[in-house]
C-alpha cells in the first residue's frame, strides 16, 4: 500500500513540476526565489507517510487528483461573494488565487502591492508544501504597515472555484510586515465551490511592540483541499495573536511556525476544528522560543462527528538563551461519534533550564449529566448538545474580540451545526 501511495505522490509531484516547466517564463515576481522553490520541490516532492511530520495526514487523496492551472477565472463571482456575508471594511479578494481589484477595497493606511507573489524572507522551502507554493505562486499581497500605525482590520478573502469543470490549484503568497509599534487585524476567509486545492503561504514580520491579530476562517468547499503554512517572526514585546477556525474542506492542514525572536514577545496560536463526514483536518504548530521571557499559548479544540479525523501536532522549542520562557499548550477534543478519531502529538524540546512549559490533552464525549441537566430544564436534546459544544469551544473563541469576525465565525459554526449529523 505504501508503494502505491508513494507512486501516486510521485506522479502528482511530477505533474506540478511539469506545470512549472510550462509556466515558468510567464509567472510574475522574483525568479531566483521561484527557482529555489522549484529546486527544493524537485528534491522533496510531496510528503509521504514515512515523514514524521506527515504521519497522521496522508496526502494520497490529493495526489489522486490532477490539478490544473486556473485559466477560465470565474467571471462573475458576485453570487458566491454575497453568500459569504462579509463584514464591512477594507478587503483584498482573490479568486482562484488571483487578485480581483473590482471586488476589493483598498485601505488608506496600509501599503499594499498585488499582482505578483510576495515571497517575504521567512519561508522555509524544506517544507514540501512551501516549496510547492514558492514554485507555482502566481499572485499575493505585500502588506506593509508603517511604524506606529494602527491599521485597523483588513480582510483577505479567497474564493476557490473549478470554473472550467476541472480541478484547479492555486498557491497564493502573502507577506505582511508590521513596523515598530504598528498594529493590524488580518482576517482571512477561505471558501469556494467544487474541487480545488488552496495552498497559501503567509509570512509575517512583526517588529518591536507591534501586534498582529490573525483570524482565519477556513470553510472551503466539501471537495476542496487546503494546505496552508504561516511563518511569523516576532521581535521584542511584539505579539502574534492568531485564531484559526477550520470547518471546511475534504482534507486540510494549517501549519504555523512562530519564532519568538525578541524578549517579551508573545504568540497565541489558538484553533478550533469542527469536522464531520469523512473530513480530515490537521493543525500543526512549531513555536520556537529564541529569546528570554517569551510566552506562547495554544488552546486547540476539536469537535469531531461522523468518521472525521482531527490532528493536532504542537511543538515547543526553547533555545538555551530563552530563560523564563512561558509555554502553554492545551488540546481538547469532543468526540461526538464512535467512528471519529483524533491524533494528538505534543512535543517539547527544551534547552534552557529556567522555563515553565505545560501541555495537556483531553478526549471525551459530551457529559451525560450535563446533557440531562439541560434536558430536565426543557431544552430539547439537539439544542442541549449544541449548547454544550459551544461551551466547549468558548475558551478557544473567547480571545476573538473582533466583533464582526467573531459574529461571522459564530454564524459559520451555527451553520456547521445545522448540517452536522447528531
Amino acid at each position: 500500500m505504501n508503494a502505491v501511495s508513494q507512486t501516486s505522490l510521485q506522479a502528482s509531484a511530477q505533474g506540478f513540476l511539469a506545470r512549472y516547466e510550462g509556466l515558468r517564463h510567464r509567472l510574475a515576481g522574483d525568479t531566483a526565489a521561484r527557482e529555489a522553490g522549484a529546486a527544493a520541490f524537485t528534491r522533496h516532492g510531496l510528503p509521504g507517510p514515512r515523514e514524521e511530520a506527515w504521519r497522521y495526514t496522508g496526502l494520497r487523496p490529493l495526489a489522486e487528483i490532477e490539478f490544473h492551472e486556473p485559466v477560465v477565472l470565474l467571471a462573475d463571482a458576485s453570487a458566491q461573494f454575497a453568500a459569504l456575508g462579509l463584514p464591512d471594511g477594507p478587503r483584498l479578494v482573490f479568486i482562484d488565487g488571483r487578485f480581483r481589484a473590482e471586488l476589493s477595497r483598498l485601505p488608506e493606511n496600509i501599503a499594499i502591492t498585488t499582482g505578483a507573489p510576495a515571497f517575504g524572507h521567512l519561508a522555509d522551502n524544506s517544507e514540501n508544501l512551501v516549496a510547492l507554493n514558492t514554485m507555482l505562486a502566481e499572485d499575493g499581497a505585500a502588506i506593509d504597515v508603517a511604524p506606529g500605525v494602527d491599521a485597523g482590520t483588513l480582510l483577505i478573502v479567497s474564493l476557490g472555484a473549478d470554473a472550467h469543470g476541472k480541478p484547479v490549484s492555486f498557491h497564493p503568497r502573502h507577506a505582511i510586515r508590521l513596523g515598530a509599534g504598528a498594529s493590524l487585524t488580518l482576517a482571512e476567509i477561505n471558501a469556494g465551490t467544487g474541487v480545488y486545492f488552496n495552498n497559501p503561504v503567509i509570512t509575517a514580520e512583526i517588529a518591536e511592540d507591534a501586534t498582529l491579530v490573525h483570524l482565519r476562517e477556513q470553510r472551503e468547499a466539501p471537495g476542496a483541499f487546503h494546505l496552508s503554512t504561516v511563518f511569523a517572526e516576532i521581535a521584542a514585546r511584539g505579539t502574534y495573536d492568531s485564531f484559526s477556525l477550520a470547518l471546511g474542506g475534504r482534507l486540510a492542514r494549517v501549519q504555523v511556525h512562530a519564532r519568538l525572536a525578541g524578549e517579551h514577545s508573545m504568540a497565541h496560536l489558538n484553533a478550533a476544528q469542527l469536522l464531520g463526514g469523512s473530513q480530515h483536518a490537521d493543525f500543526t504548530t512549531v513555536v520556537r522560543h529564541d529569546a528570554p521571557a517569551t510566552a506562547s499559548r495554544q488552546t486547540v479544540k476539536n469537535v469531531l462527528t461522523g468518521r472525521s479525523k482531527g490532528v493536532f501536532q504542537g511543538k515547543i522549542e526553547v533555545a538555551r538563551i530563552a530563560q523564563k520562557t512561558d509555554g502553554y499548550q492545551m488540546n481538547q477534543t469532543l468526540l461526538l461519534s464512535r467512528d471519529a478519531e483524533i491524533d494528538s502529538k505534543p512535543q517539547l524540546e527544551i534547552y534552557a533550564d529556567d522555563v515553565k512549559c505545560s501541555h495537556g490533552c483531553t478526549v471525551g464525549e459530551l457529559d451525560a449529566d450535563q446533557l440531562f441537566y439541560l434536558r430536565s430544564r426543557g431544552v430539547p436534546e439537539r439544542e442541549a448538545r449544541n449548547i454544550l459544544v459551544r461551551a466547549f469551544l468558548s475558551e478557544a473563541l473567547d480571545p476573538v474580540t473582533h466583533d464582526a469576525m467573531r459574529a461571522h465565525m459564530e454564524a459559520a459554526i451555527a451553520a456547521w451545526w445545522e448540517e452536522a449529523p447528531t
Binding site: 430544564r377 431544552v379 442541549a384 449548547i387
Partner: protein, 249 residues
C-alpha cells in the same frame, strides 16, 4: 396529579425501586424521608427521565400522561421540575442564557410566545431579588464555582422562573444555612396553590417546619413503608428510621 403505581426500576441488574405506590394530588405538597441509599434520588431521576435506569414494572403518570414514555424535555414542558441533589456545573454556559433558553424551549413546546431578552431579565431579576441572591449569579457560568448553598439556591431560582406544576426537591435543604433555608422555603411556598404540587425529599424535620407538607412518606429499601401527616416527620426526628423500618418488616 402525580400517580405512581407499583413502580419498579433499577440500574443494570440491581433493582433499587421495588414497587413504589404514591399519589400526590394537585395542590398538595408531600414529603419523602428515608435512610441513605433507600432510593429517593433514584425515584426523582426515574420520574424526570434520566438515562441509565431500567423500569421493570409499574407506571407513573402526571395529569394522566404516561411520564415514563416521554423525553426528559417533554416532561419538563408538561410542568415537571427536579431540583437536583447535586446540581450540575456547566462551564462556558452563562446562567442567564441557560435559564432563558430553558424557559423559551418550554414555552415553545407548549405553543406559548417566547420571552425576549428584556422581559426575561426583568422576570429573572425580580426572582433573584426575592430569593436574596447576588445579582451577578445571572452573569456567571451555571453553578461553576458556586458554593454548595449557592447551587441549591440556583435550583430554586430556576424553579421560580420556570414555574412548574410539579416540583421534586431532592434534598434542596442540605448545605443551606438557616437564613437560606427560610428563603428557599418561601420560594416553594410562593408557588403553592391549587395548581401546584411538590414532592419534597429531605432528611430534616426543620425544612418541614417552613414547608408544611400535606403528607409525609417514608421510603426505605425501595418501597414506601409508611405514610402519615406532618406529625410523622416529628416522630422520625425523635426516634430515627429503625423503629419504622422494623415495624414494616
Amino acid at each position: 396529579m402525580l400517580e405512581i403505581n407499583n413502580l419498579r426500576a433499577g440500574i443494570e441488574d440491581k433493582e433499587i425501586l421495588k414497587g413504589i405506590d404514591l399519589v400526590v394530588p394537585t395542590g398538595e405538597v408531600h414529603a419523602i424521608m428515608g435512610p441513605n441509599g433507600s432510593g429517593k434520588s433514584t425515584l426523582s431521576y426515574v420520574l424526570s427521565g434520566r438515562d441509565g435506569y431500567e423500569v421493570t414494572g409499574g407506571s407513573a403518570t402526571f395529569d394522566g400522561a404516561d411520564l415514563l414514555e416521554m423525553e426528559p424535555e417533554a416532561r419538563a414542558a408538561s410542568g415537571l421540575f427536579l431540583a437536583f441533589q447535586y446540581p450540575v456545573e456547566l462551564p462556558g454556559v452563562n446562567n442567564a442564557n441557560f435559564l432563558r433558553t430553558a424557559l423559551n424551549a418550554q414555552r415553545r413546546a407548549r405553543g406559548e410566545e417566547e420571552l425576549d431578552a428584556v422581559k426575561f431579565l426583568k422576570l429573572a431579576r425580580a426572582e433573584i431579588k426575592r430569593l436574596s441572591m447576588a445579582d451577578d449569579m445571572l452573569k456567571r457560568n451555571v453553578n461553576v464555582g458556586f458554593s454548595g448553598g449557592e447551587k441549591k439556591r440556583n435550583e430554586v431560582l430556576q424553579m421560580a422562573v420556570l414555574r412548574p406544576k410539579l416540583a421534586i426537591l431532592d434534598e434542596t435543604d442540605s448545605g443551606l444555612d438557616i437564613d437560606a433555608l427560610k428563603i428557599v422555603a418561601e420560594g416553594v411556598n410562593a408557588l403553592r396553590g391549587p395548581a401546584f404540587s411538590a414532592l419534597v425529599i429531605t432528611h430534616y424535620q426543620r425544612l418541614l417546619d417552613y414547608i408544611v407538607p400535606d403528607r409525609v412518606h417514608v421510603l426505605a429499601g425501595g418501597r414506601i413503608i409508611r405514610s402519615g401527616g406532618p406529625e410523622l416527620a416529628h416522630e422520625l426526628e425523635a426516634n430515627g428510621y429503625a423503629a419504622v423500618v422494623a415495624e414494616a418488616a
